[in-house]
Subunit: 517 residues, 2 copies
C-alpha cells in the first residue's frame, strides 16, 4: 500500500497545506516517508460537515447493516496484512508480537460490538403502554430508545496505534451506535493511521454508506485538536492521552456556546497495596510480577502500576530490594516516540529526594509516607517504566495513604487469605477513588468484555460514569429519545408492539422479550 | 409546625448569620414569617463535610433499608398534612388542588424509586467469569456494579415546590442510589423547603442513618450556589431552573480543579407543529387545547409550548384567531413570585415587531418565518403564559424551521392520519433537537415512569444523555466499579455467584437471574 500522506475526508484524499511532519522510526528518530500535512480550518469544517450530512442516514441503518459494517472494518484491517504491522512497528517501536496481539484485540473489539449491535438489547427499549382508564389522569403511551448523538471527534492515542487509535475503542463505540466519526490521527503514527483509515473507507464503501460517515485528519498542532472540539457540528469527543491534553479538550468542549460531552481517559497511577501476608508468602514472586507489570510495553500503559504501598517490615525491605534488583536488569526498550522517551527522562530526572532502588532503564524509587505526603508532585504520572514504592508506618498509615489518593483507573490489592479477610475497610477506601479493583493480579491487561470498566474518578477520566473499554463504552455516544402517543408506523422498529427484533425490553417496568399486546 | 428559619445541617437547626430574607405571599408580595439566613461558607463546608462522612455508611445500606427510607420520606411528607400545602400555597400562589397533585407525584416518585431500589436490577450487575483455559491468555474473573458517586448538591426549583424541590426528583434519585444530598432551597419557598427537610430528617432518624445523609441550606445569593458547586467534597449537581443560572453552575463545575457532572434542566421552547390535516379536522379543538397547555400552571412549566408552527392557509389563520380569542379571555393567574411575574412582564414587553393575537394575561403573538429567522431573540424562553405562532410559507419552509431549532425537551406534532403518514422526515428533524416527541398530545404533563425521558440537547439540558424524570434519572448519580479476581466474600452481595437478590444480571453477555455456577 502506497501512503499518500493526505487526509481522508469523506472518502477523498485531500490536503490543502504542504507536508509539515512525518512519522519517524521510533528507535532512531529517523523520518519516514511520506510527509503529512496539518489539517486546515477548512478541512476540519469539510470533515464535520460531511459527517453531519451522513448522520441521519447512518443513524437509520438497520442493526444487521451496521453490524456487517463493523465486521467488514475488522476484515479490511486484517486484509492490510503484514505491511500494517510493519509500519506500526517502525512508527511506534512496539514489537511485532505485541502489534499482532493488538490487531487481534482491535478486530475482536469490532466483532464483539458488531454482535452487540446485532443482538440489539443495547438500545434499552422501554415501553410504558397507555393507561386510558387511570385516575385522576390517563397515562399516554410512552416509549424510549437510545439514539446516536451525531458526529463524534476521536483522538488517536500514541500508545495503542491500533486498539486506541483510528479504528480503536472510541471509533468502534461511535460507529456501532450510529454516529459518524472524524478521527484526528496521532502524529506519532500517521502512516499507520492512514492505512487503517483506508480500511474503514473500504468497508464504508462496501456497505454503501455515505462517505461522510468516516474521516481522518492528520496534524500535530494543538490548535487543530481544539478546532475540532469547538466545531459547531461536533456532538461528542473521545480521547485517550495525557492529562494536559485531555483537560484542554475538556475545557474547550465545556466552554463552547453549546457544550458537548467529552470522554477523556487521561492519567492514573494505578496504586498497588502489598499486604503483609502476601509479602510473607510470596514476596519474591510479587517482586517479579511487579517488575513485569510496570515494564510491560516499556511502561507505556495507562494501567501501569506507578505507586506501590506497603507497611515497613523486613519483608517489605526484602521486597523493595528484590524489585530494585530485578528492575536494574531490565533491558532497554524502544519507546513510542523520541519525544516520549525524552519526556520520560525528564520526568525521572525530576524525581529527587528519594531512595533509588534501581536507576537503569527501569528506574524504581522509594520514599516514606511522610515524604510522599509532603511532595504531591510524586503522585503525578510518569509515562514509562518507572514506579515508586511508598513505605507506610503501619496499617493505619497505609489506610490514610489509600484515603488520600487521587482518582485512578485501577487499584490493586496483593494479599493472602488472612489479609483479604481483614481488607474490607481498605476496599471501601479504594472504591472511592478507583474504577477497577483487582485482587492478586496486576492492572496491566484490560479485558474487552461486558463487565469491564475502564474509567475512574478525575483525573483518571473526565467523567467517571463512563468506560472507554468493554461493551458499556457504547453508552457514551447515545442519548434517549422518548416517543409519546406515536402511531405504530411512525415508531422506530425496536419500539413497535411486535418485538420483531427479539430484544430485551423494559415493558411496564418488567424486562421481557414478549410482544406488547 | 413552627418554622425556625434555620438551615438543617446533618439534623441540626443552625444559622450563623442573621435572617436576611423571607418567603413572600406570591399574590401580594407581603413577607411571611420567619426570616431566613443566607448560608455561610462555613455552613456549606459543614453540610458537605457531614455528607462526605456519611457517604460510605449510606452507600453500604442494603436495598431494603434504603427502600424503606424512601418510603418513610414519602410517609413523613404526607404526615405534614395540610399545613405543608397551605404554606406552599402562600409561598408560590399555586392552587391547593395543584399542590395536592404535586404532593402525590412527589410521594409517588419516592415510592416508585423505592420499588426500583428494592428490586435491584438498576445496579446493572455484570459478571464475566474467569476463563482460565483461554488462549493466548486466560481471562480473569471480572464483575461490575453501579455504585454511588458521593455527596450530591441539589438546587430546588421555583415552579415545583415539592416535585422538583427539597424531596423532588433529584433528591430522590440521589438518595435512592446511595448518595448523601445537600439541598440548596429555592428562596421563593423557604418555609415549604424547611418543612420537607424536617420530614426527610425524621425519616433518616427513623432509618437510623447517619444524619449527614441530608442537609438543607437556605440562601438567595448566587455566591452560595457557586460555593456549593465548587466545594471539593461535592461529587455531582442536580438543577432545574433558568438557562442563566444553570449555565453558571455548569461552568463552575467544569472549571473546578476536579470537574464534577452537572445534571441541569434549563430552557426549552417545546415547539408544536400543527399540520394541515389536523387543522382542517379539528382546528377549534386544537386552539382550545393549545390555550389550555400554554396557560397551565400560569405557563410556569419547563414543557410549556412556547412556539407553534404552521403553514400559511385559511385554516391556520382561523386557528391563530381562535387561539388569540381564547387567550384573551384567560383569567389572571398568580405567578410563583413577584420577581417571576415581573420577569414575565419584562419578557413580553421585549417582544416587538410581531402581530399580537392576544394581549391580556396570556399574550399570544405571531410572526412570519422570515421575521422569526431574522430575530433570534424570539427563540428564547419566556417563562410564563406566552406563546408565539410562526407562519411558514409552505411545507419546505416548515421543515427548514424544524431543522434550525435549538435543543428542546419536547417537540409535538399535531396531525391527522394523512399528515402523519407523510411526517417521517419531520420526525427525523425533530429527533435531532428533542428529548421527547409527542403526537397529538401536549408537552405539559410529564409522566414519572421507566420510559420517560425528560432531557434534551443543550440548552434544554447540560447533558442530553440523562433524564431528570423517570426511573432512568437514577443513572445520573452512579458510576460503575469493576471487581477483578475478587474472592466471593469480598465482593458486593449483588455480584456474588449466588444471585440471592434475584436481580437481572448480565452474565457472559447474557441477561439472566440464574446463579453463576
Amino acid at each position: 500500500m502506497n501512503l499518500h500522506g493526505k487526509h481522508l475526508i469523506a472518502g477523498q484524499a485531500l490536503a490543502a497545506q504542504a507536508p509539515s511532519f512525518t512519522g519517524v522510526v521510533a528507535a532512531s528518530g529517523q523520518p519516514l516517508a511520506p510527509g503529512f500535512s496539518e489539517a486546515t480550518a477548512e478541512e476540519v469544517d469539510q470533515a464535520l460537515t460531511a459527517a453531519a450530512a451522513a448522520a441521519e442516514e447512518f443513524a437509520r441503518t438497520g442493526r444487521k447493516h451496521r453490524s456487517d459494517f463493523l465486521q467488514r472494518i475488522a476484515a479490511e484491517i486484517e486484509a492490510l496484512g503484514e505491511p500494517l504491522l510493519a509500519r506500526a512497528h517502525e512508527e511506534t517501536g512496539l514489537p511485532l508480537a505485541r502489534l499482532t496481539g493488538e490487531r487481534a484485540r482491535t478486530c475482536g473489539q469490532l466483532r464483539l460490538f458488531a454482535e452487540v449491535v446485532r443482538e440489539g438489547s443495547w438500545m434499552e427499549a422501554r415501553i410504558d403502554p397507555a393507561l386510558p382508564e387511570r385516575k385522576p389522569l390517563p397515562r399516554p403511551d410512552i416509549r424510549r430508545l437510545l439514539q446516536p448523538l451525531g458526529p463524534v471527534v476521536v483522538f488517536g492515542a500514541s500508545n495503542f496505534p491500533l486498539a486506541f487509535s483510528v479504528a480503536g475503542g472510541d471509533t468502534a463505540s461511535a460507529l456501532a451506535t450510529g454516529n459518524p466519526v472524524v478521527v484526528k490521527g496521532h502524529p506519532a503514527h500517521p502512516g499507520t493511521s492512514e492505512m487503517v483509515a483506508v480500511a474503514i473507507n473500504r468497508a464504508a464503501a462496501a456497505a454503501k454508506l455515505p462517505p461522510g460517515v468516516f474521516s481522518l485528519l492528520q496534524g500535530k498542532s494543538p490548535e487543530t485538536s481544539l478546532r475540532l472540539v469547538r466545531h459547531p457540528l461536533a456532538e461528542a469527543v473521545g480521547f485517550t492521552g495525557s492529562h494536559t491534553a485531555g483537560r484542554a479538550l475538556f475545557d474547550a468542549a465545556a466552554q463552547r456556546p453549546r457544550p458537548i460531552p467529552v470522554s477523556a481517559e487521561m492519567s492514573s497511577l494505578n496504586p498497588v497495596f502489598v499486604l503483609a501476608g502476601a509479602l510473607a508468602e510470596r514476596g519474591p514472586a510479587l517482586a517479579e510480577e511487579l517488575k513485569n507489570s510496570f515494564t510491560l510495553g516499556v511502561g507505556q500503559f495507562c494501567t501501569k502500576p506507578g505507586l506501590v504501598f506497603g507497611v515497613k517490615s523486613p519483608a517489605w525491605e526484602a521486597f523493595a530490594a528484590a524489585v530494585g534488583g530485578l528492575a536494574q536488569k531490565v533491558a532497554a526498550g524502544v519507546m513510542l516516540h523520541p519525544g516520549i522517551a525524552a519526556g520520560f527522562q525528564r520526568g525521572v530526572a525530576g524525581v529527587s529526594g528519594v531512595e533509588w532502588l534501581a536507576q537503569g532503564t527501569a528506574p524504581v524509587a522509594r520514599v516514606t509516607s511522610e515524604v510522599f505526603r509532603a511532595r504531591p508532585e510524586l503522585a503525578h504520572e510518569i509515562f514509562g517504566p518507572f514506579t515508586l514504592l511508598v513505605t507506610a508506618k503501619d496499617e493505619a498509615d497505609l489506610a490514610a495513604l489509600a484515603r488520600a489518593l487521587d482518582g485512578q483507573l485501577t487499584a490493586t490489592l496483593q494479599g493472602n487469605a488472612a489479609d483479604l479477610a481483614a481488607a474490607g475497610g481498605l476496599v471501601a477506601l479504594l472504591e472511592k477513588h478507583s474504577g477497577r479493583l483487582i485482587v492478586n493480579g496486576w492492572p496491566t491487561g484490560v479485558e474487552v468484555c461486558p463487565a469491564m470498566h475502564h474509567g475512574g474518578p478525575y483525573p483518571a477520566t473526565s467523567d467517571s460514569r463512563f468506560t472507554s473499554v468493554g461493551t458499556a463504552a457504547l453508552e457514551r455516544f447515545v442519548r434517549p429519545i422518548c416517543y409519546q402517543n406515536f402511531p405504530e408506523d411512525l415508531l422506530p422498529v425496536p419500539l413497535r408492539n411486535r418485538n420483531t427484533l427479539g430484544i430485551l425490553r423494559l415493558v411496564n417496568g418488567q424486562f421481557t422479550r414478549d410482544d406488547v399486546t
